[in-house]
């Protein structure tokens, strides 16, 4: 595969890295090829940061045009670097999320009043509260904390952008995996049931490990 056009996932979201080893029309073609071959992979509305300082304004505009024709949003990583980490992952849940108007990342909380089923995904750069269950095969990814007011059986990732102080709480905390920042804890190989978590629990990072603790509510 070509090395001139590379997509890279990072803490701040997806990055498009272009190197100036070939001419611009070739780059454009390569981008189209990549996007065609990864059709359905990128969700519409995904924000991608451009990392190619060598492109001139017109060229950047043209690249941006290609992305928007695929329903994707390209942000110039150089131009907007000064701003502190703008939303790189929109809350792209296919469920009806009721987002608070607050744009502040720290304060933003997404509340979802329904069960998240197998194959569904809720992503937010703030905190997420689920009033319902998180079923096996579902995943919840939050920049902040995750709270499940129900049984949590899917995959939960709190502090997805590196916040080790993020926590996961659930009425029944029996997930496949708990991830906090870059740490992962997985469920025991034995199949878990509600009886294995009879009280609400909270997961957080302590001494470089994810620990669970019973909480009172």
């Amino acid at each position: 595969m070509s090395e001139e056009v590379v997509f890279k996932g990072s803490r701040s979201g997806l990055k498009l890295i272009l190197t100036n080893t070939v001419d611009f029309p070739t780059i454009e073609n390569l981008i189209r090829q990549k996007l065609d071959s990864s059709f359905n992979f990128f969700q519409e509305g995904t924000v991608i940061q451009l990392e190619a300082g060598w492109l001139n304004k017109a060229q950047k505009q043209s690249v941006r045009g290609i992305f928007s024709s695929y329903g994707l949003i390209l942000q110039d990583g150089y131009e907007e670097k000064a701003e502190p980490l703008k939303v790189s992952l929109e809350s792209v849940d296919r469920t009806q999320a009721h987002e608070s108007e607050d744009k502040d990342r720290k304060l933003k909380t997404t509340v979802i009043n329904q069960t998240i089923r197998n194959g569904q995904e809720v992503i937010s750069d703030g905190s997420i509260i689920i009033n319902g269950n998180v079923n096996p095969g579902a995943s919840i990814i939050a920049g902040g904390n995750i709270e499940v007011r129900g049984a949590c059986r899917g995959i939960v990732h709190a502090g997805a952008f590196g916040d080790v102080n993020a926590t996961v709480t659930a009425e029944y905390l029996i997930p496949m995996q708990i991830r906090v920042a870059d740490l992962v804890a997985r469920a025991p190989d034995k199949r878990m049931s509600k009886a294995d978590a009879p009280y609400p629990e909270k997961a957080y990072v302590s001494k470089g490990k994810i620990v669970l603790e019973a909480i009172n509510r």
């Binding site: 296919r94 069960t115 089923r117 197998n118 194959g119 569904q120 269950n133 079923n135 096996p136 095969g137 049984a151 059986r153 199949r191 049931s193 509600k194």
Partner: protein, 262 residues
């Protein structure tokens, strides 16, 4: 106005087609005019289960492309006068019929039938999307098994995404002795995860296999427990309140207790 019901499951082999055939026969027996539409293009089976394979002249693809009217493609059941099958093509594949075409066909048929049951193919791709497009509500079939429940959960999510909010659950092929020994999920486990209204619990029954091979759905067999369970589902679809069958095998001692009323 009729109800268009899609029977779906996600996973294969849980009994979508069997359920469709049995519900079709059951609804027809109660005097309803019923059409069954097979949308499993390329892998059609519904005609086999109904014993109608040798009567097929035209298929869903012919109707969808407008070559013939749906009336010409319908196959009347040999025993049940008010039961009709709209078979699909065995030669073409799932791309041959679109959701909009199926909606148009169903809208045309609504006036004439009390119930239209759509047999959905396994999977969540084009065939599934076509099958659910026309439905007023969905019956999700699952089995007391982790993989089947997981797929049913996915399917419910997909149905919600397509704005199909009326969803009923049928749990098929229950082996009560395995449920009792904890080797199979019990109804509580299933309800806990899927959390939708359950309208049927059907036991795993050898008579389903023999009746499938004979082309006469098991619902007509009064001796079969699965047949009774399907009959009850039909009643519930018609709005009756029927308690679930006790699927546990009765020991001699249980039977004695029943006789003596203790």
């Amino acid at each position: 106005m009729s109800d268009v019901i899609v029977v779906t499951s996600g996973k294969g082999g849980v009994g979508k087609t069997t359920t469709t055939a049995n519900l079709g026969v059951g609804l027809a027996k109660r005097g309803n005019k019923v059409a069954l539409i097979d949308t499993d293009t390329g892998l059609r089976n519904l005609d086999l289960l109904l014993g109608l394979e040798n009567r097929i002249m035209y298929d869903l693809v012919d109707v969808a492309t407008g070559r013939i009217s749906y009336k010409k493609a319908l196959v009347r059941h040999k025993k049940h006068e008010t039961l009709f099958l709209l078979p699909t093509s065995q030669i073409r594949d799932k791309t041959a019929v679109t959701g909009q075409q199926l909606i148009d066909i169903c809208n045309e048929m609504r006036g004439e039938f009390d119930y239209i049951l759509i047999d959905c193919p396994a999977g969540i791709e084009q065939g599934f999307k076509t099958a659910i497009a026309a439905a007023d509500y969905a019956i999700v079939v699952t089995m007391p098994e982790v993989a089947a429940v997981r797929d049913a959960d996915k399917i419910i999510g997909e149905l919600n995404r397509a704005d199909k909010d009326r969803i009923k659950l049928v749990v098929n092929r229950i082996r009560s002795h395995m449920v009792d020994s904890g080797d199979m999920l019990d109804m509580d486990d299933i309800n806990d995860i899927l959390a939708i209204d359950c309208i049927g619990q059907v036991p795993d029954d050898e008579m389903v296999v023999t009746s499938t091979n004979r082309g006469e759905p098991v619902i007509s067999n009064k001796k079969s427990l699965a047949g009774q369970a399907y009959n009850n589902i039909v009643g519930r679809i018609c709005g009756e309140q029927i308690p679930f069958l006790d699927l546990r095998k009765k020991t001699l001692f249980d039977k004695l207790k029943q006789i003596l009323h203790v």
